[in-house]
Symmetry: C2
Subunit: 203 residues, 2 copies
């Protein structure tokens, strides 16, 4: 791939443009299909993208590779959105805002969260959570200094709890057990209660 | 299968006894392998059971069918243990005992929880949680009446939160992020805080 720019010619361009168009169509279709049905097959995705299976497999070696790329792209978009959340002021309030925004981006991708859990190796899933985890960690540290976040639990455990509650909400909405509009408030209230220091009143 | 008892003869018995022995060996090996490595393959499991792939596939159509049977058996054993937990007295205290016991049975099966999440359809996973969920629901209802469990959230959401926190702990221990001996206390403290009514101090 590193030498590709050396062979740019007027005849090669349309072919590469087609490939780019196909890749973009496959990724868009996969994102949409997996959001609705985490078990969507390669056939479903190829059909939705308007390409053949051979074309799809020409760009992605297998379903897991395609899911990995879709998750990677979704994480980049999500990350840019979460970067825009105002994290100044009271750490607990800021965490509440971040949780509601995190819920919105997680929910938008719906079944993709479950597709990723089923198709990707544990290590890739962890990596996908590294950057959001850093953002949460900074707020948890500030909340601990301000005395609004309990300090009798490991920080990592608190991050794990938060991810667990957000994913649990995503699953419950996807299964129709919880109306989507109730989720952000429940995630926020549940997490802030779980972080409240012993002896202090739950907000 | 329904007519099998009609052809019981002295010559048929040893064959069926062998089949039963093989099935038991495969299930034991699968439970042990998946607990250590949720991605354990059919080959790994057959080797650990001391049977060939053909024998294994003679009893289980595919890996998902084997995982489903292993999970089913694990749930039955767990269920018997959880039935033995004393759920009398203060609902919140009883919930704490139930959570610690639930953690112990979940943790014993280790990677099996992750193997199940990866291999089983969503519906089967839900069914596996139905009976434990009923036990938790009874305690939550009692806690609500006693005023120690918040009533401003749906009961189902509180069950979902509890399952999410127990599974998150199981994953964190499996990945080596959390020492197993710290998990029951953290699960208990996190869940009881999450259930505390607004305005009341966290226990």
């Amino acid at each position: 791939m590193g030498v590709q720019f050396l062979c740019v010619t007027s005849t090669a361009s349309p072919k590469r443009a087609d490939a780019r168009k196909n890749i973009a169509a496959i990724l868009d279709a996969a994102t949409a299909c997996l959001a609705v049905d985490p078990d969507a097959s390669i056939n479903d995705i190829a059909a939705a993208a308007g390409v053949g299976r051979v074309t799809l497999y020409g760009h992605f070696a297998n379903r897991a590779a395609l899911v990995a790329e879709v998750v990677d792209r979704a994480m980049q978009v999500s990350d840019a959105e979460l970067d825009a959340v105002d994290l100044d002021g009271d750490a607990r309030e800021a965490l509440g805002r971040l949780l509601e925004a995190s819920w919105q981006v997680t929910h938008r991708y719906g079944g993709l969260v479950m597709a990723a859990q089923a198709a990707l190796p544990e290590g890739d899933l962890r990596a996908a959570h590294d950057k959001p985890a850093q953002r949460v960690l900074r707020l948890l540290r500030r909340g601990r200094r301000e005395g609004t976040v309990r300090t009798d639990m490991p920080l990592d455990w608190q991050v794990t709890t938060i991810q667990g509650v957000v994913h649990a909400a995503s699953g419950a909405v996807h299964r129709g057990e919880l109306p989507a509009e109730r989720a952000p408030g429940l995630v926020r209230a549940t997490v802030l209660a779980a972080l409240t220091p012993p002896g202090q009143p739950v907000p």
